[in-house]
Amino acid sequence: MSAAVDYLLHLADNALVLGQRNAEWCGHGPILEEDIAQSNVSLDLIGQARMLYQLVATLKGGDATEDKLAYFRDTHEFRNYTLLELPHHGPLSGYASSSLDYGTTIVRNFLYSALMALLWEALEKSANADLAAIAAKSLKEVRYHLRHSRDWLVRLGDGTDESHARSQASLDHLFPYTQEFWAHSPAEAAAVEAGIGVDLNTLKADWDAIVDAALAEATLQRPAAGGYVPEGKQGVHSEHLGFLLAEMQSLARAHPNGVW
């Protein structure tokens, strides 16, 4: 059971953290259509996270609930990829909303949804029937996230000099974080062993093909991955996750058991 719980939490935290991060665009999108698109993508992701947390709560039993899992765990207990918690800007810019960079948002959504489209497709055959059911639904949604982010990647990369330079900078900044996809954590290895999870390395060739084709169309250069391999999925996070969780969790913690 523990292998399933740890693996499901990883999938759920990925969806929740990116859903929360992208929701920062709500009311601040560069154009109205994209404001709406990011909010809708966030709704899908948070919906996927809810289904997964509900399943974890059922498996754990006792007084576990989806809300406790989302609102009452701390940074080191979250199992999401580090990539997904990073702010919407490059490594050195500030935190003000005026410095939000849409290229970073698009590049991250593209790299992640390309992975998740392949992973949800493979998880439709998971030995855990409930996870397989969630995968079948999530796949239908993430394919549109992939199509959306891919189109915008091409539009920005093959756009003006400014949009090209900024999306290339976002790619250079974010791409090394994707190394975490391919480095197995003990929880993933246990889930693969139990037939619940999927060995991501079996999906890497397809992910590379999706990424390379899109980057070529976008006239962007694929950066060499290398250097530090993040370990967010093992609870070792960047300084950014704490701020994101503080904003997301403060209301539930200030009014525990509140109903509205």
Binding site: E33, I36, L43, L45, G47, R143, Y144, H148, I210
Partner: protein, 166 residues
């Protein structure tokens, strides 16, 4: 008095979707089954998009409709098989079109991620629900809700929503 399965279906027949009130939950394919279980009658519903904010409302609407008719039944949410727009009835699709929303195309059979991504979105011509022209352009992959994309008709110049195949 215990209601029959047929009476439950009849009670819920015209219950409308809260977001698109011209179409019923049954026509949308959200209302899956009414069955007689060990603990009495059960109404099986299935969620559309994972994060659709209307789902809570839909469950409440089903409960209160049954309650007003004096029918006692449990509402059960079931994830598998996953909801698909292919379950939408022809009558339902026609009602969407008349309402100004282009109804979903059939989902392509056996479509893998690799094939989905290699096919340009442009290849799916979506006829304008206002003038019928196929000379339309996608403006955004997400419209007023996650389940719809925003299109524009190049002939009558009207913008419209397209209910995406799911």
């Amino acid at each position: 008095m215990t209601a029959t399965v047929e009476e439950v279906w009849a009670a819920l027949e015209d219950l409308a979707d809260p977001e698109i009130p011209v179409i019923s939950l049954r026509e949308l394919g959200i209302l899956r089954e009414v069955r007689s279980g060990a603990e009495g009658l059960e109404v099986v519903i299935t969620p559309t998009y994972s994060g659709c904010p209307a789902m809570g409302q839909i469950e409440d609407d089903v409960r209160s409709t049954l309650k007003t008719r004096g029918i006692s039944a449990r509402v059960v949410t079931q994830l598998a098989p996953a909801w698909t727009t292919d379950w939408m009835s022809e009558a339902g699709k026609e009602k969407l079109r008349a309402y100004g929303i282009a109804p979903p195309h059939q989902t392509p059979a056996g479509s893998s991620v690799m094939r989905f991504i290699s096919k340009p979105a442009k290849a799916e011509a979506v006829p304008c629900p206002h003038c019928g022209s196929s000379n339309t352009l996608v403006s955004s992959h997400f419209g007023s809700t996650a389940c719809k994309a925003l299109y524009k008709c190049q002939d009558c110049q009207e913008p419209f929503d397209y209910f995406k195949p799911y």
